[in-house]
């Protein structure tokens, strides 16, 4: 693998060997919105916010799992992409019960930030208002399904970095839920090591530290990155 040169939004840029389009964009200061992607764990290509236009490819491609190749022409920002991104965000807000003013992550929430950046000022779809559960059986943490966007960061970080695989997804479609172990209460999980990586990874306030009040919970994503670098690159500086 060698360094590649590609064009992002009309600018000729270089990308590190093996970089994805998303990484190439970030290396060159181009922001592409993401939700399910998290540095340090594998990419799922699931949230579809990072879709970009690539010349010569009929379909939009997720930047997080698309390799940057020599001569590629990428468009990360267009009226059409932003329109799609807005609808995706609206769909998420309508899907579960996101009540920002009473959420621990208010002001530190990636879903909220993406909406603000995109200019999504209201939701045109009908709010589903599902009746969802809150699990606070764990002595230190809790999960409020109302705020979960099913990004599966918790599932991946728990499996890939902690090696516990406490989290997984049950059910399908809009009935999907992240669950602990075999859908037991989190507090009864045999596999959970209480490492809090899921808490740091969660983009919203779905997985939270107990005792935090509205707007109090700040995520330490740098810790995930630190652990990932420690494991993969043997670098131990925070």
């Amino acid at each position: 693998m060698t360094v590649t040169t590609l064009t992002i939004n009309g600018e000729l840029v270089s990308a590190s060997p093996g970089a994805s389009v998303l990484e190439a964009a970030r290396e060159n200061g181009v922001e592409i919105p993401t939700l399910c992607e998290l540095e340090g764990i594998s990419s799922a290509g699931a949230c579809r916010l990072c879709l970009v236009e690539i010349s010569g490819t009929p379909r939009l491609q997720p930047a997080c799992v698309t390799a940057a190749t020599e001569g590629m022409e990428v468009q990360t920002d267009s009226e059409r992409l932003n329109r799609y991104r807005r609808m995706i965000l609206e769909l998420l807000f309508a899907e579960r019960n996101h009540i920002c003013p009473v959420c621990v992550a208010n002001g530190h929430c990636e879903l909220q930030s993406r909406a603000i950046e995109n200019g999504m000022d209201h939701v045109r779809f009908s709010y589903q208002h599902p009746d969802l559960s809150v699990d606070i059986t764990h002595e230190r943490f809790g999960i409020d399904q109302d705020r979960c966007i099913l990004c599966t960061r918790c599932v991946r970080v728990c499996d890939e970095l902690e090696g516990a695989h406490t989290w997984d997804v049950a059910g399908r479609g809009t009935k999907s839920r992240v669950i602990t172990d075999l859908n037991q209460p989190w507090g009864e999980s045999d596999t959970c090591t209480s490492c809090a990586k899921c808490v740091e990874a969660c983009p919203t306030g779905a997985i939270f530290r107990k005792g935090s009040s509205v707007g109090e919970m700040e995520h330490r994503r740098d810790r995930i990155r630190f652990i990932a670098d420690a494991r993969k690159k043997k670098e131990w500086s925070p």
Partner: protein, 543 residues
């Protein structure tokens, strides 16, 4: 096992046949209307009438006219297909009808129960390649398949052809994937063959799940060895030693017959190590789906085989490059693989002589809906929808055709003014539908097209895996808007929003399920927009 042994088995099978052959369909369609009792009665009555010395009673697969099942065929001439002029196909045979059928054999006449007209276009317009043995061979007896010429193509391939020659033959035949998308099979095979990988796999996708579609089930229930032979040839061509058939759990009979087929093929050395005393090894195992439609999508299917949650992953990488457990993998649908043995047996040119320029061969359809004749049909590519619906299907009993739905939840509705469209991949796509896996539902004038779109959207909503947001949450909103339109509560703004959603979900979803979920809406909007608009109101009402 060599050519002589195969022939010896065929010869022995032929000799053991009695002059008169009574075949009863025991595929799922007829079984569901009690054909097992009919078969049991036939076997008992033949003994009672003491004609078991000259009458075989056998359990066969689908005899096509599913709407008139259970079907029973009485043929003399030892059941040889070239001597079937006087064969009789009884319709809707009830257990009580068996006695008159047997009496008619004894007396030499016909029983007084309805008989199918075998010269009707429903039968005469069929072009059996995939279904050539369907309803003839006994699916649970490998000898029956060998008698019909089975495993001869595999033998020839292993002895006379290099993998490259097989690839060339399949490529030249013009065979395209029958799972729906129509990707050229030869290209797919060559991709796997050329990908360096220490292990390779061949997967047969038998996770047929479109509402109203039963082509693959019929093939597997009626002629399972054909698929095994196709898989073995494919494995030889691409260099794989292990195959999996991923079949949905809702097909217990097909699973059962496949298990029997694999067992007997292994026993005869037609599957397993050193097949037909060649250096070629190939094993086949079944993997049974647990009821998720999305597992028909190839990346989800592979995840399921690996024991993971059946959710798709972004492509590229394609299975040819990064398939099962990271190894190069060939995935073909049942019908595609069922075409392989005849292509190798008769040659690429023979196959390419059937069909149109870009769509070669035949296509099997499960013809269903409001028409007179429903059932399983295999037609040459290029036949028009009108010929299928009006001639073969014999039209709608009281009323007129409004639309033909192809491609199931990924397809579209083709209106009556386009019935002269030829059935090929490109023509159907040009009308906003797809060839699909072979579901074909005929709708009459009473059909509410918005409700049809709503039905398919409900299906996609229920079957979305939930991984990507556009499909998971978008289908819910599209379904809600369609319901609102059906209920007469929607405004023009709602319709505009629905169209925006269709566009977004189509272009942003992760896999084919989501990307095609809007198709039934878009195609009904294209041809039946007035039906939507007639249901709209000017002012919103609170819901």
């Amino acid at each position: 096992m060599d050519q002589n042994e195969l022939q010896a088995i065929a010869e022995k099978e032929r000799k053991s046949r009695k002059p008169i052959r009574v075949s009863c369909c025991t595929a799922a369609g007829c079984l569901s209307s009690n054909s097992q009792a009919v078969l049991d009665n036939l076997r008992a009555e033949v003994k009672v009438a003491a004609i078991d010395g000259r009458v075989d009673v056998c359990s066969v697969g689908c005899m096509k006219l599913c709407s008139r099942g259970p079907l029973v065929r009485v043929a003399d001439g030892g059941g040889r297909r070239d001597q079937l002029k006087d064969a009789v196909l009884y319709e809707s045979v009830q257990p009580d009808d068996v006695a008159p059928v047997i009496r008619a054999i004894v007396d030499g006449g016909r029983a007084d129960i309805p008989v199918a007209d075998r010269s009707h276009p429903f039968f005469s317009r069929q072009k059996p390649i995939v279904l050539e043995n369907c309803g003839w061979v006994e699916p649970e007896r490998i000898e029956s398949y060998i008698e019909a010429g089975g495993y001869r193509a595999l033998h020839y391939v292993l002895r006379e052809m290099t993998p490259e020659q097989v690839l060339k033959e399949v490529t030249q035949s013009g065979l395209r994937g029958r799972g729906g998308a129509g990707f050229p099979a030869g290209v797919k095979w060559a991709l796997v063959a050329k990908t360096p990988s220490d292990k390779k796999y061949v997967v047969c996708n038998a996770d047929e799940g479109d509402p109203g579609a039963f082509m693959d089930r019929s093939v597997l229930e009626s002629d399972p060895h054909r698929v095994l032979e196709g898989m073995a040839i494919a494995a030889y061509a691409v260099g794989a030693a292990q195959g999996y058939i991923y079949i949905r759990g809702e097909y217990p009979l097909a699973i059962n017959r496949l298990q029997t087929a694999i067992r007997s093929a292994k026993r005869m050395g037609l599957i397993g190590g050193h097949i037909m005393d060649s250096p070629f090894d190939f094993n086949v195992d079944l993997r049974i789906g647990a009821g998720a439609f999305v597992c028909g999508e190839e990346t989800a299917l592979m995840a399921s085989i690996e024991g993971k949650r059946g959710a798709p992953t972004p492509r590229p990488p394609y299975p040819a490059e990064h398939g099962l457990w990271g190894h190069s993998t060939l995935i073909n649908n049942v019908e595609t693989l069922a075409n392989v043995a005849p292509i190798l047996r008769n040659g690429a040119d023979w196959f390419a002589s059937v069909g149109t320029e870009k769509s070669k061969g035949t296509k099997v359809f499960a013809l269903a809906g409001k028409i007179r004749n429903t059932g399983l049909i295999e037609v040459p590519m290029g036949i028009t929808l009108r010929e299928i619906v009006e001639d073969m299907g014999d039209g709608i009993p009281d009323g007129r055709v409004k639309a033909v739905q192809t491609g199931g939840p990924s397809g579209g509705c083709i209106p009556t003014e386009h019935l002269d469209t030829p059935v090929d991949y490109e023509s159907l796509a040009a009308l906003g539908s797809i060839m699909g896996s072979g579901g074909m539902i005929v709708m009459d004038e009473k059909t509410n097209m918005v409700d049809v779109a709503r039905f398919f959207m409900e299906f996609c909503m229920d079957e979305s895996c939930g991984k990507c947001i556009p499909c998971r949450a978008g289908t819910v909103q599209m379904h809600g808007l369609l319901q609102k339109i059906c209920d007469g509560n929607a405004t023009p703004d709602d319709l505009a929003l629905l169209e925006d959603l269709c566009d977004m979900v189509r272009h942003t979803s992760l896999c084919g399920l989501g990307q095609t979920a809007p198709n039934p809406v878009m195609s009904t909007l294209r041809f039946f927009r007035h039906e939507y608009e007639n249901l709209l109101r000017k002012e919103a009402i609170l819901t």
